[in-house]
């Protein structure tokens, strides 16, 4: 909101230079956003831009802000006291006012000006309005506008002769009524919209904007000036419904001063006669169906201390409140009674008064201390949070972390998670972000396209975050970890040669994640996922913890404009919430040496490593510490449809050293069993049976 230094100086002596005025008001809760001071020799040329908070409509005008300044500096506040001369016609003899909806219009004051001449405003008025960014229209409209920026109360002038029946009625619109507003728009009115109507129909949107038909024009002679108080909620509804935000609605929806209608009316009426001539009717019409008794709020000095942590000097606090317009009764020193001025609608309870005191003292006057409160639920969780544990594992696996929006494209979600209907956002910013994500993969695939397109040679990303799935009542938010790998391999070194990522990089990340989350025996099964969008493996990592690992189909890659083979994984972690990872128990270190034997067996491609390992462990007469695959070979010497798998078997006995012949016997038994049960043969011997 813009303020003129010269205008403020009409009501309070300003001894400080403009920047200091801005600094003091900022410290008191009216922050300075901008200051234009074209002639440093003349403070009167300065124009301030203050950010007035929504709870302080009383400060959105020069007199209100001057009151704040006077309260801070101790200077006197001088406000003009317009006097309307009597003796002419009474207002009620030339116009009538009715209020049908007093719950939305607590007060309606009006006067008429008869025989005015509408014309351009004088230089001083135009200059003042223009200095704060307002446009001069004509002397009558400018007078009401001036009073808005001076006193803060929105007024509206009607051409009295264009009001059918010379009457105004405050009522809600009836079905089918419409109105052409001052901006030339024809507006269809919802039943319930508060309007000002004459005998024929609506002539103004109450508190928002006037109608074109009763607008003040050059031919206007007789004027009805409206100074009313409208209910904030009603004004806000109308303003929102019609998308019409005006200086008047801005103030009414924040709460105008019901006690100011007459003063503003008188000020505007005298200004109009000063500028445009004419006679003011007297007395005014003042319909006040819902007068509010002044609000009295108790204030306990002990409570000030309890909230601010400082002792307040009683006299200072009281004087400060009084300078702001409060009436303070200290008959009971432990419980003051403070009467709130009608322009401070933000003050409704004791704590509001305490803020006033703190504001005036300045927050700098309050000391610093650390609280001693202890929260039994506080401190570091020794287990760590699930999402952080998942993050740590995937970082260690060499993937970098991505963070993507929860808002996602519906089609992309359905492509990668066809079984789940994404919850809809009713008012999305763009159609491509009109759903809540049901999978983390679309975001990661977008990131992949972004990176590859910019020449990043290997894209290795993961995200840990929520997805949203439809559920009874409200969409469920469940935690997932997902990753994407494309291009160059995760670990690169000159000694390793160039390698592109493959399925095993993605699977390795999932296996490591599972291990770090305490799931010791993940199982994988070959599958086609999301109707072919991903080809790979379905994973069961533990109780209720499942996921997918695989290669993204060419069709999906085209959709995301990715031109490299791309591998993804996604794991639901929700089943692990609140599950402690298993305690790691110490197993005694082996005291006797292990014996390692390598076996290369040729098996058909439909055989699994799991099955081979089960046979080995199942038939061995000696304890086996470990079975590890160290090679897989296809090609010369191995027939089509088969592969050679090389395993190292580690025999180790807890109580004795193994003899060479017993190890050989165990190995022979294993080979025989692999032949018998899996049709495997040792590499270098005949074809598998």
């Amino acid at each position: 909101v813009r303020f003129s230094h010269a205008w403020l100086a009409d009501y309070v002596v300003l001894r400080d230079p403009p920047p200091e005025v801005g600094r003091r008001l900022t410290a008191a809760g009216v922050p300075l956003e901008g200051l234009v001071w074209p002639d440093p020799a003349d403070p009167g040329t300065a124009v301030y831009d203050f950010d007035v908070f929504t709870n302080r409509p009383d400060c959105m005008n020069h007199q209100g802000l001057a009151r704040e300044i006077a309260a801070l500096t101790g200077e006197l506040l001088r406000l003009p006291q317009p006097l309307v001369p009597g003796g002419g016609k009474t207002t009620s003899s030339v116009a009538t006012v009715g209020i049908e909806n007093p719950e939305m219009c607590a007060r309606y004051s009006a006067r008429c000006i008869l025989g005015a001449r509408v014309g351009p405003s004088p230089e001083w008025l135009r200059h003042r309005l223009e200095s704060i960014g307002q446009r001069s229209i004509n002397n009558v409209v400018d007078a009401t506008n001036y009073v808005l920026w001076e006193m803060g109360h929105p007024l509206h002038p009607f051409d009295l002769d264009r009001l059918s029946g010379r009457q105004v009625v405050v009522r809600t619109a009836r079905a089918g009524e419409s109105l052409v507003t001052l901006d030339g728009e024809e507006r269809r009115l919802d039943a319930g919209t508060l309007v000002i109507a004459d005998a024929r129909g609506p002539v103004a949107l109450a508190g928002v904007m006037g109608g074109q038909a009763s607008e003040i024009g050059s031919s206007t002679r007789n004027i009805l000036l409206e100074s009313a108080w409208f209910d904030p909620v009603s004004i806000r509804r109308t303003s929102k419904a019609l998308g019409l935000h005006t200086d008047a609605s801005h103030r009414f929806e924040r709460g105008a001063d019901p006690g100011a209608t007459l003063a503003a009316l008188d000020r505007a009426a005298m200004l109009v006669t000063e500028l445009a001539g004419g006679e003011v009717t007297d007395p005014a019409i003042d319909q006040h169906p819902r007068p509010e008794p002044p609000l009295r709020v108790p204030l306990r000095p002990a409570r000030v201390r309890a909230l601010l942590g400082i002792d307040i000097a009683a006299e200072g606090a009281r004087g400060g409140l009084e300078r702001l317009g409060f009436a303070v009764d200290v008959t009971d020193p432990a419980r003051w009674a403070v009467q709130v001025p009608s322009f401070r609608r933000d003050i409704t309870r004791e704590v509001d008064l305490i803020e006033e005191i703190a504001r005036q003292r300045g927050y700098d006057a309050i000391p610093s201390a650390l609280p001693v409160a202890q929260d039994a639920a506080g401190g570091r969780d020794p287990v760590g949070r699930l999402d952080d544990r998942a993050r740590a594992a995937l970082l260690a696996a060499g993937l970098s972390e991505a963070v993507n929006f929860a808002m996602a494209d519906r089609d992309e979600c359905l492509l990668l998670a066809p079984e789940t209907a994404p919850p809809a956002i009713e008012n999305p910013l763009q159609s491509g972000a009109a759903s809540l994500r049901t999978t983390l993969l679309p975001g990661l695939l977008r990131n992949t396209a972004h990176n590859l397109n910019r020449g990043v040679s290997g894209c290795h990303l993961f995200e840990v975050g929520h997805v949203f799935t439809p559920a009874a009542g409200r969409p469920a938010e469940t935690l997932r970890a997902a990753g994407v790998l494309a291009g160059r391999g995760v670990w690169s070194h000159w000694s390793l040669g160039r390698r592109e990522v493959d399925l095993f990089d993605a699977r390795g990340a999932v296996e490591f994640l599972a291990e770090r989350l305490g799931m010791t025996a993940p199982r994988f099964a070959s599958d086609t996922i999301a109707r072919g969008a991903v080809a790979g493996l379905r994973a069961v990592l533990g109780d209720g913890v499942t996921g997918i690992v695989g290669e993204v189909s060419p069709a999906v890659l085209r959709r995301f404009e990715i031109d490299r083979r791309t591998f993804v994984f996604e794991v639901g972690l929700e089943g692990l919430h609140g599950v402690r990872p298993p305690d790691r128990r110490f197993a005694g270190l082996p005291r006797f040496p292990a014996v390692r034997r390598d076996l290369a067996v040729v098996v058909r491609e439909n055989c699994t490593v799991t099955a081979i390992e089960e046979v080995i462990r199942g038939v061995s007469s000696l304890p086996i510490a470990e079975v590890q695959v160290f090679d897989r070979y296809r090609g010369k010497g191995v027939e089509a449809g088969c592969a050679s798998v090389a395993l190292q078997v580690v025999f180790q006995h807890p109580e004795r050293t193994l003899a060479a012949d017993e190890v050989q016997a165990a190995q022979d038994a294993i080979v025989t069993a692999l032949q018998d049960r899996l049709g495997a043969r040792l590499r270098g011997s005949g074809p598998p049976g």
Binding site: P31, T54, G309, I366, D375, G378, L429, L436, H460, P475
Partner: protein, 342 residues
């Protein structure tokens, strides 16, 4: 006496000979010349010690012994030194210049890093980490925080609505309400999470962002405790002795309400481009919990008082790393992410 003079002479001569010995052969010759079993100068000197009068023998013997120790040790060091200098290099220059092999972990997102830092600061102070849903009801997001329907304060929090009469939380403040509903005071909590506002995506706005919410409630909590806590936090998070400034402000769920600033971390408050010459950097909002909020959760607002504060994670990350465009956080460009290894 004569022995001692001979000791001095032999020692000087030895030192000269040793300095002159540039290769193993010369060093071996020096060794023979002084320690040779028959003609070695030291060997001869030891033999002559027998002729010294018994009264002088102790002193002369010590001098000869010291000389022997000196020669032994000097020969040893000289041999080691020669060996070192003559050793062939293990690596060629090319090999010595090739990079080593390791497995580098990925880079955590800068937002995660700031979140972790802030969490650890509050965990050290005994705060509890709380969380709440990202999809919220009007009640938790607005109503219980003293922002009734049709309140103009809702204008600044343009909201995404989700089917079923729900919304994406516009701030992390609903976690305050949920936590107080769940347990009685004393409460000392922080919640860090995502928030959503229907703002266009540009250099300074993002429709999704991350917020920190803090809440302390107990008997006897005052505005002074709010100041002390924010001061401590800001100093920790910037690792500098920044100054704190609070200015009155308006948030419906606190009263008195404030915005807090820290002295500019780039110019120490003198005024620079980063703080637009003001010397201060805006951090967030704070204040004493409004009694209406306590009434919503069934706390006795006469018995307990509390403070709440909030701030944006992106803002802290941007300040710490000199990032000038908030969109970079959500592009997930690896050339960006890998600039912030943990």
């Amino acid at each position: 006496v004569i022995v001692q003079e001979r000791v001095r002479g032999i020692r000087e001569q030895f030192d000269r000979d040793l300095r002159a010995a540039a290769d193993p052969a010369a060093l071996a010759a020096v060794r023979v010349r002084y320690l040779g079993r028959k003609e070695g100068l030291l060997t001869l000197l030891l033999r002559d010690l027998r002729d010294v009068a018994p009264a002088d023998r102790a002193i002369a013997g010590k001098a000869v012994n010291d000389l022997k120790l000196h020669i032994d040790s000097a020969l040893h060091l000289a041999a080691a030194d020669l060996e070192e200098r003559s050793a062939a290099p293990v690596l060629t220059a090319l090999e010595a210049s090739l990079p080593g092999r390791t497995q580098r972990p990925g880079a955590p997102h800068p937002i995660t890093q700031v979140r972790t830092l802030i969490e650890s600061i509050f965990l050290e102070m005994g705060y509890a980490l709380e969380s709440g849903p990202e999809i919220e009801t009007d009640y938790y997001n607005f109503e219980a925080l003293n922002i009734p329907a049709h309140h103009p304060a809702r204008d600044s929090q343009d909201t995404f609505y989700v089917e079923g009469g729900l919304l994406l939380r516009t701030h992390t403040s609903p976690v305050q309400v949920r936590t107080m509903e769940r347990r009685p005071p004393p409460i000392k909590m922080v919640a860090i999470g995502k928030a959503f506002r229907r703002d266009p995506f540009d250099a300074t706005h993002s429709p999704m962002f991350h917020q920190v919410e803090g809440l302390v409630v107990d008997e006897g909590i005052t505005f002074a405790h709010l100041k002390g806590t924010l001061e401590h936090f800001c100093r920790k998070v910037f690792d500098r002795a920044v100054r704190l400034r609070l200015r009155p402000s308006f948030f419906p769920f606190v009263e008195p309400g404030a915005e807090y600033d820290v002295s500019c971390i780039f110019c120490d408050g003198r005024g620079c481009g980063r703080c637009k010459g003001s010397g201060w950097i805006e951090m967030g909002g704070a204040g004493m919990v409004h009694p209406a909020v306590f009434e919503h959760v069934g706390y006795d607002s006469e018995r307990c008082t509390g403070f709440a504060f909030g701030l944006g994670i992106e803002r802290i990350a941007m300040l710490r790393h000199g990032i000038d465009d908030i969109r970079l956080f959500y592009e997930n460009d690896l050339r960006f992410l890998t600039q912030f290894p943990a």
